[in-house]
């Protein structure tokens, strides 16, 4: 790998050729604030938070897109740079509802964190604010564009990760916002409700509807887990409050999904705490299901399978497996069917 030497804040570092200033800085543990940047998405240089001073450049440059060159000298926190960031934050604040008290994003909001970091308590530039209705009728995603900072992460996630391309930028200037074609409802678009847009949204503009009011970041405990819905084995982060799963996010940086998640994994885990969910085996006695122990239940099943096979032959039994099972489980089940039950009557729900 060809390495390039540069100086950031007086520190000599080297980074692989082709890196951006932001990548080089991150690698050297120098933190440059960002809003529109996301490691999983292409850089667009839109939010202007990551502006840095590069010697020889007429104006400040976005570090997320500026490629490093040999001998480059960068200042990430000079007065000019900090002023520029504050300017951007004040502008964002001038068109942002100040309802952090009740916002579900409080504690996990990147905008809030930056306002705190840069000490932006109020804006010098008050003016007209957006008043979009928050009324998209879909069951999963709340879209509150009054809180949108137009970082376009949602749009890029939709295009680059999921490929659904359900949303893009609509209108121009101060009116511009992410939206579906003709700025309609998600249900009428290509949207698959995978929620990747929610996943990458830095503010409270996009939130899972099920999450609303369930707790703030610091009130939840995170547990990495595997998605139970299919055999891919996507890694998820489950957030629980009072031993109850209230929110699911993608787990980044691990195979097999590398942060990508579908609608089921993200929005379909509410059954976990559902009162109708089976939590133990039931055995029907006298026409009524009665709770039983696993041993009782498994013994009953084994007994009845053996009985049936003996009486009517293996082919009298058919086995249907589920795509919620892992590959290994499916393999074992077909092995069991063929070798133990001695029948080829085995199939899988994914064929339906």
């Amino acid at each position: 790998m060809v390495m390039v030497n540069l100086v950031i804040n007086g520190r000599k570092i080297s980074a692989p050729a082709g890196s951006t200033v932001l990548q080089a800085a991150t690698q050297a543990n120098i933190k440059i604030p960002t809003l529109c940047d996301h490691p999983a998405l292409g850089s667009i240089g839109a939010c202007r938070m990551c502006l840095v001073e590069i010697k020889g450049q007429r104006t400040l440059q976005p570090s997320c897109t500026f490629p490093i060159t040999e001998g480059m000298e960068v200042q990430t926190h000079s007065t000019g740079v900090v002023d520029a960031r504050r300017f951007v934050l004040e502008l964002l604040l001038s068109d942002h509802p100040l309802d952090c008290m009740t916002c579900d994003s409080t504690g996990s909001c990147e905008l809030q964190d930056l306002m705190y970091e840069y000490g932006v308590k109020q804006t010098r530039f008050p003016g007209e604010q957006h008043a979009y209705p928050v009324d998209d009728p879909n069951p999963f995603i709340q879209r509150d564009y009054n809180k949108c900072i137009l970082c376009r992460r949602c749009v890029r996630a939709c295009q680059e990760i999921n490929g659904a391309e359900a949303i893009g930028m609509v209108w121009r200037g101060f009116r511009s916002k992410p939206g579906t074609a003709f700025d309609g409802k998600l249900e009428d678009s290509n949207c698959e409700f995978c929620g990747m847009c929610v996943e990458v949204c830095p503010t409270g503009a996009l939130l899972g509807k099920q999450v609303l009011g369930q707790g703030r970041a610091w009130q939840l405990t995170k547990t990495q887990s595997t998605c139970p819905y299919c055999g891919v084995g996507c890694q998820l982060d489950l957030y629980a409050r009072d031993n109850k799963v209230v929110k699911v996010t993608s787990h980044w940086g691990a195979p097999p999904n590398q942060g990508s998640t579908c609608v089921k994994g993200r929005f379909g885990l509410d059954y976990v705490n559902h009162p109708d969910r089976l939590t133990q085996p039931l055995i029907k006695k006298d026409g009524k299901f009665e709770p039983a122990s696993w041993d009782e239940a498994l013994n009953l099943v084994a007994e009845r399978l053996a009985d049936t096979k003996q009486k009517y032959g293996g082919d009298s039994i058919a086995v249907l497996s589920s795509s919620k099972c892992t590959n290994e489980e499916n393999y074992i089940l077909q092995k069991f069917t063929r070798a133990v039950l001695e029948t080829n009557n085995v199939d899988h729900c994914a064929r339906l």
Binding site: T59, V88, D95
Partner: protein
């Protein structure tokens, strides 16, 4: 095939402007007429591209004579063919008329609009048939390409373009040759040549005209560029709103393929180049190169950060070169004539020519191509013919909506990339919008901001939100809600946007606002502090244009309405609330109100001044006693000077319960009204009547008592017990000529001359030859007075032209009628004589550079002096306050001798205020009255501490119902004022104007359009709509 030889060629402009004024009909009519007369083989008609003179369209040139016709209609054709094409005579009716002299200019090369132009880029526009490749080739078309392909290597081509110094004509001015070199050196097999024809500036249409009028020049330039860079594919990105440009460019591309000038192996050189035309959907930001490429690729047209630059990674990630239409159109000429030829034109750093779309308030609107380095003033006044309707030039916006406005102080600025940048404007793509005094610069800046914010793509925060906030601030200011802190906010927002926006659109959006703030700061201040829009544009601040134009803010629509109803006393009461001198102003006011009267845009302004006189005259028998509106206060105020400012201040303060004494040095009160304005304009009994009214308010006027001689400023305040002093001492000191001989016997300054006449001891003038030097009102007053005293000849010598005279037009006109001789562009350089004046040596002047007032400075023509025999010389070239009497007690003064005051007229001495000519320099009665009102308010606030609210209520406007139907007076004409005959009046001091009869006045009043009511209606509607919108938003 041998072309038929024609006896004459008729070139009819087919540019967009002329097409809109039906040039196609003219072409058809010509065709039919020529056929009818069997001339079709003798005379050829060519429908050309744009000639540039759009204001005069359709325009036509007939060769070989070069006869130039404008505004030709199809119905003119038979006469034109008969007279010009058959009989060889010019039809004067169709010739261009010079806007001020109205003289016909029949030949193309004599038309001033074309006089200073140098057409390189537009050389074929308007000359050839743009749909014929042969005509292009006949004009050396594709010769530059041919030279490049056959004689030069790509590196040599780049070297030639670099040496020519050609800079990008899109506006940024980057060296074109260097750009080509970057792309040539970039690694990659596939490269693109792109032409930016996304001309989005409102009012700019040069790229359009080139593509419509000479599309091959662009194609040839692009092909040369493709050879230089090793590109084989190119795009012309043209906005879809230009259908004719698209049609002609596509046709030209087809023709090139037929001729082997595009495609494979061009001219046998082995080089191949394919060109496509891509239509843009009309987003302004697509003029930005990265946005343009995104748009070609089919994505949302938005810019991206650079690097990587297009030369490295452009269209579809390949090295690409983007130039403006004009840059490509220039290249073939450079290749053909060489770099030296090109950089011999224009300036060293900006060689070549620039094309401007000259629009707005200028006589000759159109497209002009000028050598770089020509001054803005030359473009606007020499080529553009100046501002129409005698209005004053105010500013020019260069560089389109992202450029900046420049005022009169910039008229001498050479137009090139660097000079414009230095003074806060940009070359941009070449829009040039001229505005006159009727334009509000705050509103103007807001207009461009509205455009830029609407066209922002919304990608980066500074442009998206910052632009909007800038607009919010300007909107507040134009609505009268602004604060001075807003001006700081504007600067902060502008700096933030310039430094942090992603692309040039965001970086340049604050340009117009910044320039307006830089050059027209006082207008921002007026909006914020005075809640006044000087130009009378911002509707929240402008009750009616007339009221707004009046320095004292007199409620014109109300008193005019009351006059129409015969309610003269009520009308006068309204008038006097803001101006006590109705009788005086009815006679001598320059009537700023009439100048702005909206009716004047339809036919003629309402005769407001004469109506005022009529109204005031009704009262002479029942004189006014001003009412006292507040309790007596135990405080004394001294007013020094009994002119209009002093008397107005005194009256107001007396009405508010102060004990006021006016100290007047002269034996009569009235200041310049009594001592300067001649009796034929203002009879003394009329003036006295008005002064007597003021006395009845309790104002004490002490005559023959002068500051410095009879009392001093400290004495007034300490010994004499006055709590406040208003200095309204006028401007009675006359400026000296500064030439030899000016102290000779017979040199009498106008101030002295007029004062002596007023006091009954006139200088002996009878039978003498008199020269008055100057062009202001005092000069004309002195001249007309001299004539009435029996002078043999009266001459007025003025160093500029009549158009630049500050005197009222009517006065000059009346003086001319009376036989006074004017010598313009003439300046005295010596008063001739031993002890007494015997002559005046004069030197002719010519107009040179522009001065700060936007007028051309007179420059002497050396060695051309001559002597005129004279007996009396009356200098009237300027006046200033005479502070010599103050013996060092004077508050601080400006360099011109006027008092230095704050916005509320407070001087540097506590308790001392100044007003009138002593602050303004020689001005008008109404301006003095306005200052008198202000001084009174300030004194009252000073003595009471804080500005009492009662005054605001007292001064509030009350709208009168209109009691007539304006439609009934739609065709009514302004009546002429009866005047004494010119031959009689020159010999007496009787009043020149005789006044209206009652019926005439009442009818004239009903011509008023009542703009105040219209505005109220509109504001009520706006408020209703806003309330409805708020309800909807809440629901």
């Amino acid at each position: 095939m041998a072309e038929a030889l024609y006896r004459a060629n008729v070139l009819v402009c087919g540019g967009t402007g002329c097409s809109a004024s039906k040039s196609k009909d003219v072409v058809d009519a010509l065709g039919a007429e020529l056929e009818k007369r069997g001339l079709q083989d003798e005379i050829r008609v060519v429908h050309t591209g744009c000639r540039g003179f759009c204001a005069q369209g359709p325009v036509m040139i007939i060769y070989p004579d070069g006869i130039f016709y404008c505004q030709v209609q199809a119905s003119d054709v038979p006469n034109l063919v008969e007279e010009t094409l058959l009989k060889g005579r010019v039809v004067p009716r169709l010739a261009y008329k010079e806007p001020t002299s109205h003289e016909a200019v029949p030949f193309y090369h004599d038309v001033p609009f074309y006089g200073k132009q140098v057409r390189i880029t537009l050389r074929n526009c308007g000359l050839i048939d743009p749909e014929s490749i042969d005509e292009y080739i006949a004009r050396d078309g594709y010769a530059g390409l041919s030279r490049a392909l056959s004689e030069m290597t790509p590196d040599q081509v780049i070297e030639e373009v670099k040496r020519s110094g050609l800079r990008g004509r899109g506006g940024a001015g980057f060296l074109t040759g260097l750009k080509w070199e970057f792309c040539r050196k970039a690694k990659g097999d596939v490269k693109y040549v792109i032409c930016n024809a996304d001309e989005g500036d409102p009012g700019a249409f040069m790229d359009r005209s080139i593509l419509e009028g000479d599309p091959h020049s662009v194609i040839e330039g692009m092909t040369i560029a493709s050879y230089a860079m090793g590109a084989h594919e190119g795009y012309i990105y043209c906005r879809a709103e230009y259908p004719l440009a698209i049609k002609r460019a596509k046709l030209a591309i087809e023709q090139c393929h037929e001729y082997g000038l595009l495609g494979d192996n061009i001219l046998g050189s082995g080089h191949s180049f394919y060109l496509h035309l891509k239509e843009g959907a009309g987003a302004f930001v697509c003029g930005e190169e990265t946005a343009l490429m995104a748009s070609i690729e089919g994505r949302r047209g938005e810019p991206r950060p650079r690097p990587p630059f297009p030369a490295v990674s452009g269209l579809w990630g390949q090295p690409s070169n983007i130039n403006n239409v004009k840059s490509y159109a220039n290249s073939p000429q450079i290749l053909l004539h060489g770099a030296e030829w090109f950089n011999s034109i224009g300036t060293k750093k900006s060689p070549g020519t620039a094309i401007f779309a000259l629009t707005g308030k200028v006589n000759n609107t159109g497209l002009v191509e000028v050598p770089m380095g020509i001054t803005l003033g030359e473009i606007i006044f020499d080529i553009g013919g100046g501002v129409p309707n005698g209005k004053k030039f105010k500013a020019v916006q260069t560089g389109g909506p992202l450029g900046g406005c420049l005022g009169t102080e910039s008229l001498n600025t050479p137009v090139d990339f660097d000079s414009l940048k230095e003074i806060g404007a940009v070359m941009g793509s070449g829009g040039m919008i001229v505005v006159d005094e009727d334009t509000c610069m705050v509103e103007f800046a807001k207009f461009f901001l509205e455009f830029a914010t609407a066209e922002s793509c919304g990608k980066c925060v500074p442009c998206r939100v910052g632009g909007r906030r800038l607009l919010d601030v300007l909107t507040r200011i134009t609505e009268g809600q602004g604060t001075m802190e807003d001006l700081t906010t504007i600067k902060e927002l502008a700096a933030g946007m310039e430094n942090n926006s992603l692309c040039a659109l965001g970086q340049l959006t604050p340009g117009p606002v910044k320039a307006a703030l830089r050059y027209f700061y006082d207008e921002f201040e007026a909006h914020i502090l005075d809640k006044h829009c000087p130009a009378g544009v911002c509707k929240d601040l402008v009750r009616a244009p007339c009221t707004n134009a009046c320095p004292a803010g007199v409620d014109v629509p109300s008193y005019v309405t009351l006059i129409s109803q015969g309610k003269y006393a009520e009308a006068l009461a309204i008038h006097r609330q803001r101006n006590p001198f109705a009788l005086v102003c009815g006679r001598v006011c320059p009537a700023f109100c009439e100048h702005r009267c909206r009716r004047g845009e339809l036919d003629e302004p309402i005769a407001i001044r004469q109506l005022k006189r009529f109204m005031a005259d009704q009262e002479i028998k029942n004189p006014w006693t001003p009412e006292r509106v507040e309790e007596m206060k135990n405080k004394k105020v001294a007013v020094v000077g009994g002119g209009p400012a002093g008397l107005t201040a005194a009256l107001r303060l007396a009405q508010w319960g102060y004990k006021v004494t006016v100290f007047e040095a002269a034996p009569v009160a009235g200041g310049w009204m009594a001592l300067g304005i001649p009796e034929y304009r203002l009879p003394r009994d009329v003036l006295q009547a008005e002064i007597d009214s003021i006395k009845r308010a309790g104002v004490e006027i002490v005559l023959n008592t002068s500051l410095g001689k009879d009392f001093t400023l400290p004495e007034l305040m300490d010994k004499m017990g006055f709590s406040a002093v208003v200095l309204a001492i006028g401007a009675h000191s006359s400026r000296r000529l500064g030439v030899p001989g000016e102290d000779l016997d017979g040199v009498i300054h106008a101030t002295v001359f007029l004062k002596d006449v007023a006091l009954g001891k006139p200088a002996s003038i009878k039978g003498k030859r008199v020269a008055v030097v100057g062009g202001g009102n005092s000069a004309i007053d002195a001249a007309r007075t001299a004539l009435r005293l029996g002078a043999k000849e009266v001459h007025v010598v003025y160093r500029r032209t009549k158009a630049e005279m500050p005197a009222q037009e009517l006065e000059v006109h009346e003086a001319e009628e009376e036989g006074i001789q004017f010598h313009f562009l003439t300046n005295p350089i010596r008063v001739v004589g031993e002890t007494k004046v015997t002559g005046l040596e004069l030197q002719p002047q010519e107009l040179g550079e522009f001065d700060k007032s936007g007028r051309r400075r007179p420059v002497p023509i050396e060695g051309s002096g001559y002597v005129m025999d004279m007996d009396i010389v009356i200098p009237a070239i300027g006046q200033s306050p005479d502070r010599s009497c103050m013996n060092g007690d004077s508050p601080d003064a400006n360099r011109d001798g006027t008092f230095k005051v704050g916005r509320e007229l407070e001087t540097s001495r506590p308790g001392v205020f100044a007003a009138g000519d002593a602050v303004l320099g020689p001005a008008t009665v109404i301006q003095a009255v306005a200052q008198g009102n202000q001084a009174a308010l300030t004194v009252d606030a000073y003595l009471q501490g804080g500005n009492p609210v009662s005054k605001e209520a007292w001064l509030a406007y009350r709208t009168q119902e209109a009691a007539w139907n304006p439609e009934d007076f739609a065709s009514a004409k302004r009546p002429a004022m009866p005047v004494q005959a010119a031959d009689r009046r020159g010999h007496n001091f009787g009043e020149v104007e005789q006044g209206f009869a009652a019926e005439v006045a009442c009818n004239e009043a009903k011509r008023c359009l009542r703009c105040d009511l219209e505005r109220e209606k509109q504001m009520a509607q706006d408020a209703r709509e806003a309330a409805e919108a708020a309800e909807v938003a809440e629901a």
